[in-house]
Symmetry: C2
Subunit: 475 residues, 2 copies
């Protein structure tokens, strides 16, 4: 049973991950190195993620629009840190329309520079502020070691870009976007994350401060789920984005940017999947319920399908004639469908159905006479909650504290989780940690840094500690 | 009143068009030559178009997915006509990740070649057919004379790609997509089009046959609204896309592709707009109703807003304090909002509202006691129908027949509309027409070609005519 072994999640996460993506038919590497093809089932998950998040972003007050794919190289290079950070990853168009271009064009790795150029022309006075824009698009950052969904040279994402009259307001924007991402990932993807500030080494190229929400995978490697940047005046000074305030004085605007990408799907797969394959939270499952008729029950199954479909569930009737029920169960479990309904001839006699919970395997018998629609709704909600509860418990049990350098190295080497430690918060120290252990600081969690530190020395260099940080290897 | 003059539509369509886009804040040219920035109001129209069409495409049985932005140059060049057709327009990435690429990558001008490469791996037997895929994405075709929405170097579109077991089935797919686009553009955008086959000269590079739906703008220039290609075996032979049929024999698949783009918005602006600015059909209006409170009526206006909003209308309350009602009317007319509701103090006394129809200017008084929600729904439907009716009448009156070469040249030169003529359907003849008149055949309309032609000679070269064609200059 070679196939089965490849799917034991804890034995080899990397192999398991690749296998689930292949067998659940989510995506594949494209012939273009580093790029991926997202297949219909995987793309349906992305559409659900996008639609849910888009509602929240619009409620937050940002408006969708579309900026060009290409950025003149000179724009990118205006901000020194920004160009240094992105240069090794950019793809460059040198020829177009049959001619060599006078100035090479960069395929956007992120759109700050070109959006700020527009903001300069669109913002006149305090009445135009705050300005909150968002776009859903593809970006390109050349990737030497691609991994489906987690790291690909081209990926889909949303990028929000805002401009504000005051630092306070921009900082408030950052705070509220951290909360928005945190809640979205928790409530919709059923994944708990840690909110915190990125270190100097790990922050966005060109930002004053960066923040992230970080998830911990079952193999105790981290995934950065979303980032939120306070750009201060760094970019507005360079792009000359000013506004006239109420007193008539001209000032630079304070800026932020924030984004999440298709890598959310990578974290979704790893967080909830099991040895039977993919497990999807009902809120982002393209198919929430699959109905499998057994024996001579197709007519009832079809009626049930119509009722559930009309009630707004995403439901599929697996009426294939040439596949046995057992094989259907196997396949539909692999695809992570939260609820399976079985209807056999005996069920029809008793006017009932059997519901199987994908997460627990538990069967529930529902009478079709009762309000079974409400019961199925409840079951889906229960599955959504169970997945979050399980993932939250796992993460809680995987935050481990390191008091000494030896403990720290040992915990990192054995991938014990988020390694919590007192830290000096200095760049050189983090470079040394990365060199020696392969780990980075994930972030400086807000919750752990509420109080000022006293009498605590850096776990790595022994200097006076300034922060509590979570360290971890990451995808 | 310089501003007003710029907005007289019939005087100078090009200037009027540019003005409406600017004043209604739809889009602008970006600093990257040929590319555009679609602003929030314009992008909201695109989102509505996309969402409506996406439902139809999914119902049609195509599944959304995402293929890479980049195509290896060698793929593009496999099909001789295809590469010849697209070479002058492509943008080429030569450097990425800090290195010169071994093989240059083309930024997709269309995705046939890379999608077919995947189809080769995904299709095994007749059970995998038909395969219908679609993606919403950006493509790049370098444009020397860009015009917002109508011709830009980068544009947004959807591209459908299908594979079939038989020619008949693929031809049926083409037919049903022609109908789908025709109906969508008529029912949602309120634009009538002419369905027909493209000439040999105008067909898609690499297709066996191409088809289009063509709209006629008020200045009597045409816009190709959507294209549908029967690719036959041309691409499947090159990409080696085969399937095993029911008898066990291996055959090549028959293919089609079809797409519409953001140029639909260009046609929308030109078709319905007037001297007051943009006019939007309610089905794609980001704001269907604007409420303007006059005097001390804000409370009632707010209640009305809530009621309409909860009833599913896209409604805006224009409660700006520093703008007079007249200026609000002017601005909201410019933005093409189909219905304006005015509430003054007298209206409140009488428990009524005034509704103004953006197209006719007609006022209707509605009692808030009656079922005013239904009345507003009816009004929006009436506006949608009126726009289609007006555009249909205009197009019907602009199909003019040319019997002689002189008549033909004269009608083209004076931009009289779709010039209907008997035609030899030969490439050299069309090249000569284009050279001399600047016009192309738009298509060979199905309706006009139902019967075989007899005793009819080509309007241009005098040979025996084979088809009836519509000729016109085009955007």
């Amino acid at each position: 049973m070679n196939k089965q072994r490849e799917l034991v999640k804890k034995d080899n996460m990397a192999e398991w991950y690749q296998n689930v993506i292949e067998k659940a038919d989510l995506a594949e590497h494209s012939p273009v190195k580093g790029c991926m093809t997202i297949k219909p089932y995987g793309y349906a998950i992305w559409e659900l993620i996008r639609n849910e998040l888009d509602i929240l972003i619009k409620k937050h007050g940002a408006k969708n629009m579309s900026f060009p794919l290409f950025i003149p190289y000179s724009y990118l290079s205006r901000e020194k840190d920004h160009v240094e950070g992105f240069s090794p990853e950019i793809a460059v168009v040198t020829h177009a329309g049959g001619k060599k271009l006078q100035e090479p064009l960069v395929v956007r790795p992120t759109s700050e520079t070109i959006i700020h150029e527009s903001m300069r022309r669109w913002i006149y006075s305090y009445k135009d502020l705050p300005l909150k824009l968002n776009q859903w698009c593809n970006v390109v950052r050349w990737e030497k070691h691609p991994r489906l969904f987690l790291r690909t040279s081209e990926f889909q994402w949303q990028e929000g870009h805002t401009a504000h009259a005051t630092e306070q307001e921009a900082r408030q924007e950052v705070e509220s976007m951290v909360e928005l991402y945190y809640n979205f990932i928790k409530d919709v993807l059923a994944i708990p994350t840690v909110k915190g500030q990125k270190s100097e080494k790990e922050k966005f190229a060109g930002a004053v401060d960066s923040y992230s929400v970080e998830a911990l995978m079952p193999d105790n490697k981290a995934v950065q789920m979303g980032t939120i940047h306070y750009l201060g005046l760094n970019f507005s000074k360079i792009a000359d984005v000013k506004f006239v305030d109420e007193s008539g004085a001209e000032n630079f605007v304070y800026m932020t940017s924030w984004g999440v990408s298709t890598r959310l799907i990578g974290a979704l797969i790893m967080t909830h999947g099991d040895d039977k394959g993919l497990v999807l939270p009902p809120k982002v499952a393209p198919v929430q319920i699959v109905i499998v008729p057994i024996g001579n029950t197709l007519e009832t199954a079809q009626r049930l399908f119509n009722e559930l479909n009309n009630s707004g569930f995403r439901v599929e009737l697996d009426d294939r004639q040439d596949v046995r029920p057992g094989a259907k169960y196997f396949e539909n479990e692999m695809r992570g469908i939260p609820v399976r309904i079985e209807i056999g001839e005996r069920e029809i006699e008793n006017n009932e159905i059997q519901c199987v919970n994908r997460v627990t395997g538990k069967r529930t018998v529902l009478s079709l006479g009762s309000d079974y629609i409400q019961s199925i709704k409840d079951l889906l909600q229960e599955i959504q909650s169970t997945l979050l509860k399980n993932a939250t418990e796992r993460m809680r049990n995987s935050v481990v504290e390191a008091k000494t350098k030896e403990e720290f190295s040992d915990l990192i080497e054995n991938q014990k989780g988020f390694i919590k430690a007192c830290w000096c918060d200095e760049k050189e120290c983090e470079v040394s940690i990365k060199d020696k252990t392969g780990a980075n600081s994930r972030n400086l969690p807000f919750a752990e840094n509420e109080k000022e530190l006293t009498d605590c020395t850096c776990v790595w260099c022994g200097k006076k500690a300034k922060k509590i940080a979570y360290f971890c290897k990451a995808y």
